[in-house]
């Protein structure tokens, strides 16, 4: 045990004397958490709409002005031909165009029915869907106003109607930052934990001190744990710094069950550090270690549900995501920070990440050879 304390002392001293690591630990979180959520805004807004009004009637003009005044849209302009409208879409000057046909008002009054055409750039599916939905909403509202003008609804409506009400939990202001920040924090923990531990053993390999250790009576598990513990503690520091920044900059208030997050993070860091060390056993230079670590980190992050939802992935990808520890961290982070999850809620996640931790560290210790 005392040997272990000596090892820890050495590791801590080395960490604090290394300016690069310290900079990494504090600057990275700040940068990522402060800037990234503002940049990573997928909210659909400022949809560019082009208007083709063939009618120029009162009704058409009212409808057009309603669209213009909507905060969802930014007017690209007016044109007389549908062809030009399509060209706008091709040139990405407009995301959708609406065409109001000739004699729109007359047709609507005379025949009680009229058409309007929307052409939508659906390359970005979400944008297309939402653009259509917003436009539809405005038109329906406008439609209802006209109906009321002309038509008195009977007291007793013969046609059954179903009203749909919406209750949206956890993000009342529909703030995309709120959604992204926990994910980014999870990725941050992952990158710092994974990279630092991967580089660590390799550095000793490169400068040669590892030989000295291999010849000594140090036990493998002492060596590996000696590498993990300091970074594990640092992980908590980063988590805390990250939470503070999230609070100050983005107003994310952790609930009273924040300890849940720390419990999970403890296990998660253990797993990720083990993974980094495992990588480190198989690489010989720092450059190699960094490349390989980066490779895995990128795949893990892409498949973690941070960027695109796991439910949208094909089955094979979902299986892979199930083996991806990062996906659990992202989910837990979101659950605790956004939804106020309890320990019971994340119990399945805890079980899984515990297994990850044990398995990864076991292999890290096993694959470390004092003798080659």
């Amino acid at each position: 045990m005392t040997t272990f304390i000596f090892i820890l002392k050495k590791e801590f001293r080395q960490i604090f004397r290394d300016p690069a690591i310290l900079r990494l630990i504090f600057i990275m979180p700040m940068l990522q958490l402060i800037v990234l959520p503002f940049a990573a805004d997928y909210e659909i807004k400022n949809i560019k709409i082009g208007i083709i009004d063939h009618d120029h009637s009162d009704y058409s003009r009212t409808l057009v002005s309603k669209i213009e005044n909507s905060t969802y849209f930014r007017l690209t302009g007016y044109t007389h031909t549908f062809k030009e409208g399509l060209q706008w879409i091709e040139d990405e000057k407009a995301d959708l165009v609406i065409e109001i046909p000739h004699r729109f008002e007359a047709t609507l009054i005379r025949e009680s029915k009229a058409d309007v055409l929307l052409a939508i750039n659906a390359v970005n599916g979400t944008k297309g869907n939402l653009g259509a939905a917003y436009t539809l909403g405005i038109i329906q509202q406008f439609n209802q106003n006209i109906r009321v003008e002309w038509f008195q609804m009977p007291e007793f409506n013969p046609e059954p109607m179903i009203d749909v009400t919406y209750t949206s939990l956890y993000n009342p202001h529909r703030n995309y930052q709120l959604f992204m920040v926990p994910g980014i924090l999870a990725v941050l923990l992952t990158m710092v934990g994974g990279f630092l531990s991967a580089l660590n053993i390799v550095k000793e390999k490169e400068i040669g001190t590892i030989e000295q250790l291999n010849v000594s009576p140090i036990k493998k598990y002492q060596f590996i744990m000696g590498k993990i513990v300091p970074f594990w503690l640092l992980g908590f520091v980063i988590l805390t710094v990250g939470l503070v920044i999230s609070f100050i900059v983005h107003g994310i208030v952790p609930g009273s069950n924040i300890y849940v997050l720390y419990v999970f993070s403890a296990l998660y860091l253990f797993a990720i550090l083990g993974f980094g060390l495992l990588l480190s056993n198989f690489t010989n230079t720092q450059q190699q270690a960094m490349m390989v670590a980066f490779f895995f980190m990128l795949i893990f992050i892409l498949l973690s549900g941070l960027y695109t939802p796991i439910e949208s992935m094909p089955p094979w990808a979902q299986v892979v995501a199930a083996f991806n520890p990062v996906s659990y961290m992202v989910e837990v982070m979101r659950m605790v920070l956004l939804k106020g999850a309890t320990i019971k809620d994340i119990w399945p996640h805890i079980r899984i990440i515990f297994v990850f931790g044990v398995v990864l560290n076991f292999f890290a210790i096993y694959s470390y050879n004092k003798t080659n």
Binding site: A20, L24, T126, N143, I146, K203, V292, E311, K339
Partner: protein, 368 residues
């Protein structure tokens, strides 16, 4: 000239012998393309749904069946109390709970109106809007099924045409992003680290003491990475065209020329970094944190620039990858020519010159 070849050959040996790194350099873009092409999308499906059916009559069962049948939803089960809904949503076991009120049949047939409540996990605003929309559509469909399509007088019917066939499988636009990222890794990260490693190991001194013109030494370090970059770009383009059906609508020569300019700019950037530090770790940190991260964030291929607050949009203009990305996109996907991307190409060339000049000056100082 012969000396240059000798040096370049040595560098090539270094690169080829490092199998692990080589694997990563080829593997990264390949895996990214596979993932982006086949795994990552925002398409709505398998949304986990739970139903709180307080009626359990014919209509409610019909509605439930319709939800089952929808490709967007995965009805996982039923709950019996409203509290359970909140528990499930909080635990992430449900994305949405559909609440069918009591006496559904009676309400619809006698009162002619009823209310369905949708409780949604609103953490992801876009997703929640979309699934609410789809769920509402199913409800309306159900209504129309049972009671016939309802024609109100004075109805404006909206016909929508979704253009370009909404594949929803991630736009083509990630391919240029993949290219930009791997080029930054190879040209900036690896070049700078390679040079700095020689400094760290002390070999640089030896090289500088040799009768070689030191600039040739530096130059020889960049050539293999340039070649490697072009090879990998070709691999990426081939994959995109054959596996993903991404078109190359524009002039392919122009495409390569633009890539080449970006490669040179990135290499020059790598050279600049190598003059700033003597430690491999620092070179790596600067390349990754200082360059690649901003490239990913502000290059325009991951996050839409037009959504960013103005100061960040300004920052994005400084990132060379942004201009590269726009040019590649225009040439590859839209098939435009030099005239349309002239401004962007000029800016990239400007970056080349700036970085080359800075690195040249810095090297001269060190060697003087």
């Amino acid at each position: 000239m012969k000396q240059l070849i000798a040096f370049v050959r040595k560098e090539i040996y270094h690169i080829i012998r490092d199998k692990k790194t080589l694997l990563v350099l080829f593997g990264l873009p390949v895996i990214q393309i596979l993932l982006f092409g086949f795994a990552l999308s925002n398409e709505v499906k398998n949304t986990k749904l739970f139903i709180l059916d307080m009626s359990k009559d014919t209509y409610s069962q019909q509605l439930t069946e319709k939800l089952h049948a929808s490709k967007y939803f995965e009805v996982e089960g039923e709950i019996f109390r409203i509290e359970d809904a909140y528990d499930l949503l909080r635990a992430g076991k449900a994305h949405m709970v559909v609440v069918i009120p009591a006496q559904f049949v009676y309400q619809l047939n006698h009162n002619h109106s009823s209310t369905i409540q949708l409780i949604t996990d609103g953490a992801n605003p876009n997703m929640s809007s979309t699934i609410q929309m789809y769920a509402t559509a199913v409800v309306n469909d159900f209504r129309n099924d049972v009671f016939g399509k309802f024609e109100l007088p004075y109805t404006i019917e909206v016909r929508s045409r979704m253009l370009y066939n909404p594949q929803l499988k991630g736009a083509y636009t990630f391919v240029p992003g993949v290219i930009a990222m791997i080029l930054m890794i190879i040209c900036t990260l690896m070049t700078s680290v390679s040079i700095v490693r020689e400094k760290e190991l002390g070999n640089m001194e030896m090289l500088l003491v040799s009768p070689m013109n030191p600039l040739i030494v530096i130059f020889s370090k960049t050539i293999p990475y340039l070649v490697l970059s072009l090879i990998i770009v070709t691999v990426i383009l081939t994959m995109s065209v054959t596996i993903l059906d991404v078109p190359i609508r524009g002039n392919i020569i122009l495409l390569y020329v633009v890539c080449l300019i970006f490669i040179v700019a990135s290499l020059a950037l790598g050279l600049v970094i190598s003059t700033i530090t003597d430690s491999q770790q620092v070179a790596m940190m600067i390349s990754l944190m200082g360059l690649m991260l901003p490239t990913l964030m502000f290059g325009g291929f991951m996050f839409p620039i037009e959504n960013m607050p103005i100061p960040l949009q300004v920052v994005s203009n400084v990132v060379p990858a942004k201009w590269f990305y726009y040019s590649i996109n225009s040439i590859m996907i839209k098939g435009l020519g030099l005239k349309s991307v002239f401004k962007e190409v000029l800016i990239l060339i400007g970056y080349c010159l700036v970085f080359l000049t800075i690195s040249y000056k810095k090297f001269k100082i060190r060697l003087a």
